[in-house]
Symmetry: none
Subunit: 203 residues, 4 copies
DNA sequence: AATGAATGAGATTTCATTCAT
DNA sequence: TATGAATGAAATCTCATTCAT
C-alpha cells in the first residue's frame, strides 16, 4: 500500500550516511570523500549509484517526502478524530527523531537546500505536505467543535507546527540533552489546552 | 547607552554583504572571493579587516547579538506591560526582517553555523537571549494575571517563539511573497487570544 | 581477392560508433563510456572485443588502411589510363565521404592520432599509401605525355592531394553544407586542366 | 598600426607552452597540470590568468588570428602585385612555421578545436581569413591577366592553400625532417607555373 | 590600505580498466 | 558473452590564505 522508493541498498546507504554527516558537521562537510570514507569505498564508486552530488541531496529529500506521505496516509487510516490524529503525528515525529537524530538536523534546515532551485522546490513541497495536513485536521476539528474556532485554522496550524519545529531544534542544538519524547508530550498537552474550544475549559 | 560594536565601516560592509550572500545563495557561496567581488575589492583586502573567514561569521553573529540585546534593553525601558513588550518585540522583529530580508535568512538558520564550536556557542547564546526574554515576560504576565497560568511559562514562550520563527521562515521561503508585517499582526492577535487568562475570554 | 579484416561484427560496430563519436564531438569525447552507451552495452563488454582503447584506435586506422588498399587495387584493375585512375580515386573518395561523413572527419585529422607512436606510425603509412599511388600515376601520366612534365611529379601529386583534402575539410567544417560530389567534380575538371601538358611551355 | 592583443606576459607564456604541448603530445596532453609544470608554477596559478581551459584555447586561436590579420595587412601595404603578394604570404608562413613548428601542428588541426562551438566558430573565421585573402588576390591577378582566368578563382585559391597546408602537414608528420623553406620555395615555383595564363587555352 | 601572484589542500567528476558473478 | 561494482589515477577548478610590493 505504501509508496516505495526505488532506491537500491547502496543508494539507501549513501542517503543515510549523508544525513549523518550533515547532522554532525554541517552541509559543508558533506563531500563525496566523506561519504565514501564513511562507507569504506572509493570516491568514484559513489558515482555508480548517483549521477552527482545534487542527486544525493535530492534523494535525501525525496526519501523523507515519501516517508512523510506514508506516515500521513497511515495516520489518516487509523479512524481517529482530528485532534487525535495531530497527536499521533506529533508523537510519531518525536519518536522518529529520537531514533534518527540526524534526520531532525537535516529536515528542519531548509536553508541547507537553498542553493539550488530543484532542491528548494522539493523543500517547499515537503513543508506544504505537513502544513496542509495539519491545517485540514484543524479545520475538521473546528467543524466538529473539538477545536476552538475563534482563531483561523491556518494560524492554529502555524502555531502548532512552529512549536513542534522549535522544540526539535532546541533538542538538537542541546545535543539531545533532554528527553524529547517526554518534553514533546508535555508540549502537546499544553497545545491541546490552547486549542480546545474556549467554553469547554470552564468544565 | 547602547552597547556599540567596534566594527569599522569596512567591517560592517563585509558583514552586510556576507549576510546577503548567505541569504541569496546559501552558506556554501560565502567565499572570500564572492565577498570581495561584491565589495569591488581584492581578496587579500578582506584580510585587512578580518583575520579569517571564521571571524567574519563570528562578527555576523556578534553584530546580531548586540542588536538584539539593544532591542531588548530598549523594549524594557519603554515602561510597558509584559504582554505589550512581547508585542513590541514581535512587531520590531517583523519590521527589521522586512527592511533586511537577508537577515531573516541567516538568523533563524542555526544549522549554518554548526560546523564550528565557537560559532555554535554564539548561536546558542543568541537563541537563549530571546528565549529568556520572552520567558521572563510570560512569567511576569502570569504573575500579573495578564497571561493564563494553566500552562507552564516555558511552553508558552516556546509556542510564541516557534510561531514567530515559522511565519518568518515561510515568508522567506515564499520569496517574501506575502506581507509579513500584516500577517504578523494577525498572528499576534491570535496568540494574544491564546495566552489570555481563560476566564477573561468569556467576557 | 580483397584483403579482409578479421574484425567481428561487434568489433566493426565499435569501430563505426567510435568514428562517429570522434567526428561529432572530437577525440576527447571518445571514451569507453560513450562507446558503450552508443552501442547500448556495458563498459566492460567493450573489453570482450578490444583489449584496450588504443586497440580501438588502431583498428579504426587499420580498417581504413585496408579499405584504401582495396580501393587502390580495385582502381588499378580497371584498365584505365593514369589520369582516369586519379579521377576514379577522386570520385570514389567523395562518394565514400558523402556516405560516411564521419570518416572524413577522422581520416584527414592526423593530429588526433599523434599521442602514441604506434598510432602515428599507422597514420603515416596510410598517408604514404595514397601519396605513393597518386605520385606513381602522375609519373606514369608524364611518361605517356598525358600529364605535363615541366613540374616534378611529387609536387603535382602534393597539389592534387592537398586540394582533395582541403575541399573535404571545408565541406566538413561547413557541416556538409554544400554538395561535395558536385563541387568535387568541378574541382577535378580544373585540376585536369592544370595538369594537362601545355604547349606554351615550349616557348 | 598593428592590432595588439591585450594578453599579459604570463598569458602569452601560457599560450606559448600550450601550443608546444599540443604540438608535441596532442590536445589530450594539454592539461592544466602540464601547462603549470611547464611554467614551473602551481596549477591554481593558471586560473589567475585564464578563467578556464577553454579560454586558453580561445586565446591561442585569437592570438593566431590577430597575427594573421597583421600579416595580411602588412603584405597588402607592400605595394606588390597580386602574385607577388601570394608569394610573400607563402614564404612568410613557411618562415613562421620553421621558427615555431608547434604552431604548424596546431593551426592546421581544426579538428582539435571541434569540441566546442565557440572554438569551432573561431577556427572557421581564421580559415575564412586566409581563404578570402588568397581568393581576392587570385581574382585581382586574373583581372590583370597575371593569372589564368580559365579556372574559377575560388578553385585556384583552394588548390594553392591545399598545397600549402599539405606540405606543412607532411613536414610536421616527418618531424621536420626536410627543409620546409626550400621545399616550399620549389612548390611555389611550380604553383606559379600552374597558375600563369596559358596561350594554349586560346585554341 | 590595497593588490597581483601565488599556493597547498581539497572539491567534484571522469577516465580506462579489473574482477566476481 | 555480458554486467554491476569497484578503483587508482588524473582531470578541472575552487578554497582560504600568504607574501612581496
Amino acid at each position: 500500500m505504501n509508496k516505495v522508493t526505488n532506491f537500491t541498498k547502496r543508494q539507501k546507504d549513501i542517503i543515510d550516511v549523508s544525513i549523518k554527516i550533515i547532522a554532525k558537521n554541517g552541509i559543508q562537510h558533506l563531500t563525496i570523500k566523506n561519504i565514501s570514507k564513511s562507507l569504506g569505498i572509493s570516491e568514484p564508486a559513489i558515482y555508480r549509484h548517483f549521477e552527482s552530488k545534487l542527486d544525493i541531496l535530492l534523494a535525501i529529500l525525496l526519501d523523507f517526502k515519501i516517508k512523510m506521505q506514508n506516515s500521513i496516509d497511515h495516520i489518516q487510516a487509523l479512524g481517529k478524530t482530528s485532534v487525535e490524529q495531530i497527536e499521533v503525528m506529533f508523537f510519531s515525529h518525536f519518536r522518529e527523531f529520537v531514533n534518527n537524530p540526524a534526520l531532525a538536523a537535516v529536515i528542519f534546515s531548509e536553508e541547507i537546500f537553498q542553493n539550488d532551485k530543484r532542491l528548494a522546490r522539493q523543500v517547499k513541497s515537503i513543508m506544504k505536505l505537513s502544513q496542509d495536513f495539519i491545517t485540514s485536521l484543524i479545520q475538521e476539528g473546528q467543524q466538529t467543535h473539538m477545536v476552538r474556532d475563534d482563531i483561523p485554522h491556518e494560524q492554529l496550524s502555524l502555531i502548532i507546527l512552529g512549536a513542534l519545529r522549535l522544540i526539535v531544534t532546541r533538542w538538537r542544538l542541546s545535543d539531545t540533552a533532554f528527553d524529547l519524547e517526554k518534553e514533546g508530550h508535555n508540549l502537546w498537552k499544553s497545545i491541546k489546552k490552547l486549542i480546545y474550544p474556549v467554553n469547554s475549559n470552564i468544565l
